[in-house]
Symmetry: C2
Subunit: 305 residues, 2 copies
């Protein structure tokens, strides 16, 4: 497991800043990434669910990864979601990631059709991996069935591990189902890393040996997220968990990505951060004002949170 060394720590599930024409604001995207490195994050994960990834075309996603690298983000610290409904798109995005020197890819099964058989899901991953045919490729299996409608079963994961032991390095479990996450850990960690997307489960998973997270909350509280994993039984553990739960409680009053972006707009004093791509809707002015009040009470401390 030579690859476990870099694959640790916090990789924020990057929010995607947009220009007034709702294109990706690449300079802002790179600036945001570098601020997260400055806060101690190991890497960044563009184009996950929080990052509205499938709302962007293949060309937009490739240009943005190129732009991050050109803007000073080390390619080896990018774990990019190359998930797509069409396999040729997933292949094109994944090939670009490998050829650009990205650390690896986060990959969903195709998410349009429902009720698909396990064998079909295995076929999808296998076809992408076989078409890339590059031993530099690292794949993190991405499980978020409440969004995709497609579950990754233990059979799918075990089959892929057996077939591609050097390529499949982990599972990002964003199901929010703690018992399922623990079952993944018991069955597959090691050799895989199992990382949860649901921040309230981070300490429990860290106690099982999980050494990192791809986290939406880490966009705005990277230091606290690092402690939840690396110091899960430390002196601040209970306080940190209470704080992350309070933060998630605030988010819950709004649409999640729109609220995250509203918080970025507050922290960066840049209203442009509020923009989202349809089918999401940006916070209304009234919601944004309420969020400002909520966040004032929360008193986010960027040097500590």
């Amino acid at each position: 497991m030579t690859h476990t060394i870099p694959y640790q720590g916090i990789w924020p599930a990057l929010l995607t800043p947009l220009t007034p024409t709702l294109d990706i604001d690449i300079p802002s995207f790179a600036r945001h990434s570098k601020s997260l490195f400055a806060a101690g994050c190991t890497g960044v994960t563009p184009f996950g669910t929080t990052g509205e990834g499938p709302s962007f075309s293949v060309a937009e996603r490739i240009a943005a990864v190129d732009g991050l690298i050109a803007g000073g983000v080390p390619a080896g610290r990018i774990l990019v979601s190359t998930s797509a409904a069409a396999l040729p798109d997933a292949v094109e995005l994944t090939r670009h990631a490998v050829q650009s020197g990205c650390f690896g890819v986060l990959l969903l099964p195709p998410f349009f059709l429902k009720g698909v058989p396990d064998q079909g899901i295995i076929d999808c991953y296998a076809q992408v991996i076989d078409k890339i045919a590059d031993e530099r490729l690292r794949v993190v299996l991405y499980h978020i069935p409440q969004v995709t409608g497609v579950r990754l079963s233990h059979h799918v994961i075990a089959s892929l591990m057996q077939r591609y032991p050097k390529t499949i390095i982990g599972i990002k479990d964003s199901s929010g189902e703690r018992l399922g996450s623990l079952a993944f850990a018991k069955a597959f960690m090691p050799p895989l890393q199992v990382w949860v997307g649901n921040e309230p489960d981070l300490q429990v998973m860290a106690a099982q040996g999980s050494i990192g997270a791809v986290s939406g909350v880490a966009n705005v509280m990277p230091r606290l997220l690092q402690r939840l994993v690396a110091q899960f039984d430390g002196a601040n553990a209970a306080r940190d968990m209470a704080r992350v739960k309070a933060f998630i409680g605030i988010l819950g009053g709004y649409g999640m990505t729109a609220a995250f972006k509203g918080i970025m707009a507050i922290l960066e004093n840049d209203a442009g951060w509020r923009r989202v791509r349809a089918p999401l809707v940006a916070l209304s002015d009234a919601e944004f004002e309420r969020l400002q009040v909520d966040m004032k009470s929360f008193a986010l401390d960027r040097a500590a949170d």
Copy 2:
């Protein structure tokens, strides 16, 4: 409503034949389309759900529409699904359809994110229509919430009709929820046409004034489908409905698209028709043999069904 004249009759939701490398077999696609015209169908609908549409890239879908037209399918008889998770993809596909002279487009809301607000869905349709900005564009709203996880509410439909009265011409309701389909008809037909994807509801909807269907079953029983709509209260109505239900009963024993393609393989004596793109899985040899027995009992009569 000058556009109701061509928008009637049966538009099969085309199955997508594949080559041994799992690319679209364009000559076979055109041949299949023309055989359906020869059986009396008004038009064809490529790249819906039965046609595995979102499993193909934008470039593949554009090349296939070009190939249908070059292969002798009249553009004005193509209603193409231009649905995509990313709006720029939907715009590119829709622009190509309009510029190619296609009859119109069948358009889903983006289908990755869930729990999206009505306003976000309205924004998606509006952004596509506004970016095309071509009065030749005709849009059929596509409702299949059990697959997309995104519902089209009456508010969304009414808002879009009010904003784009000449562009929005119909609703394809593949929800399989008869009461919902009747409610759509009561609320919006006319001026919209409401077409159901669930064949057992066709006669009920025809009695409400629905004059057509985009139907998967029509790939293999186009004549019977035409009677279910145009002669919904005719002498053969009860027998035809019993027959379509028996056929759907056979399909239900297999994965739907894989079974449709297996039946095409039997009818055309061409095993290549069995191919599907992952995440679907083709019928196994054992399933295909069982399907052959099922279809022998069903005794499909291509001159009558």
